[in-house]
Symmetry: C2
Subunit: 197 residues, 2 copies
């Protein structure tokens, strides 16, 4: 029943979650109503509740599925025997590609998490904090190695992660450059800086 797949290979619930991501991105979590979502899915609002428990549950699922992907990636990267700069570049490329290919979910997870309620809210904030600390630790090793210049690692993480969230603007505009060009430009600027030398 609920597990039956529709034409496009998604369960009804998956369709709802996907449409919710788009709506939450467009309008924000609070401004997007369950009636909006029902219309996007093609049912009456009450019918949504046969597949989901609440509006907030949709936000949980989006936020934590994104957070898990990033945590798995950093698990993987930490184990590699690469230089710090190579590890950072791998993480950045992952972030960039997530933002390009799973735009709606990643954007919602990044901007709407504050509307989570409390067992989930502090849980999410913790995961985020831990992720950033692990990212900063990679940078700090690079600084000790003289591979990376002497900067505040937490600030560097903050810059890089927010810079990538700027892909949002690229996504909503007429895409003058391709996804590949965007990726290379971002890596070049974030790792190598602006100036010619």
């Amino acid at each position: 029943m609920a597990r039956i797949k529709t034409d496009n290979n998604l369960t009804r619930k998956e369709v709802i979650v996907t449409k919710a991501a788009t709506l939450f991105r467009e309008k924000g979590f609070k401004a997007a109503s369950m009636r909006d979502l029902a219309e996007a899915v093609g049912v009456e609002a009450a019918s949504l509740y046969n597949h989901i428990k609440s509006k907030t549950e949709l936000l949980h699922e989006l936020c934590f599925s994104v957070a898990n992907r990033f945590l798995h990636k950093i698990d993987e990267v930490e184990l590699e025997k690469n230089s710090s700069v190579e590890k950072i570049e791998k993480l950045l490329r992952f972030h960039i590609n997530e933002m390009i290919h799973h735009y709606e979910e990643v954007y919602v997870s990044d901007r709407e998490w504050k509307h989570l309620s409390d067992p989930y809210l502090s849980n999410f904030q913790n995961q985020r904090r831990i992720y950033r600390k692990r990212f900063a630790a990679i940078i700090e090793i690079g600084i000790k190695n003289k591979e990376i210049k002497s900067i505040d690692a937490a600030t560097a993480v903050l810059i890089m992660l927010h810079a990538i969230s700027g892909i949002e603007s690229w996504h909503r505009s007429i895409k003058k450059i391709s996804a590949e060009e965007l990726e290379e430009n971002m890596i070049s600027i974030l790792v190598g800086g602006l100036v010619n030398r």
Copy 2:
């Protein structure tokens, strides 16, 4: 009456706008209610309407006062006889300081403008687009001069502006580094890049 200044030298309306900025940042525009705002100001909700026309008017005022400050700054910077890198650095330092010292307003203007309604919405989007184009034009001149390496200027603008919005995280955390250190670190990373050479 409405123009009379209170103890802290702000009119009643200015107090309302300031408190609104804080609330809109904390909860988001939609989730912050006029009753919340009334409580923060210390009056009943209905009384707010003696000083303002609507909730949306508060958002207009916040968004456009911030936008105007940035437009005036770029007017000024464009007229200077500096190199492109110097101009960019000046703009970045202005952004950083605005974000540090007028955090609430700048954050709201940056993240909540999509809740503006339509004469204002398209107006704001236009100003934003124009600002970014002028910023990108400065970078493009630097590229032609060989002062700046060959990158996509629009991507560089997007990275830099979003990176600076990351100061939000710094603002909400126990500030391990000072505002001055933050500024120098950001400029160093954004202009000079990460790697040691």
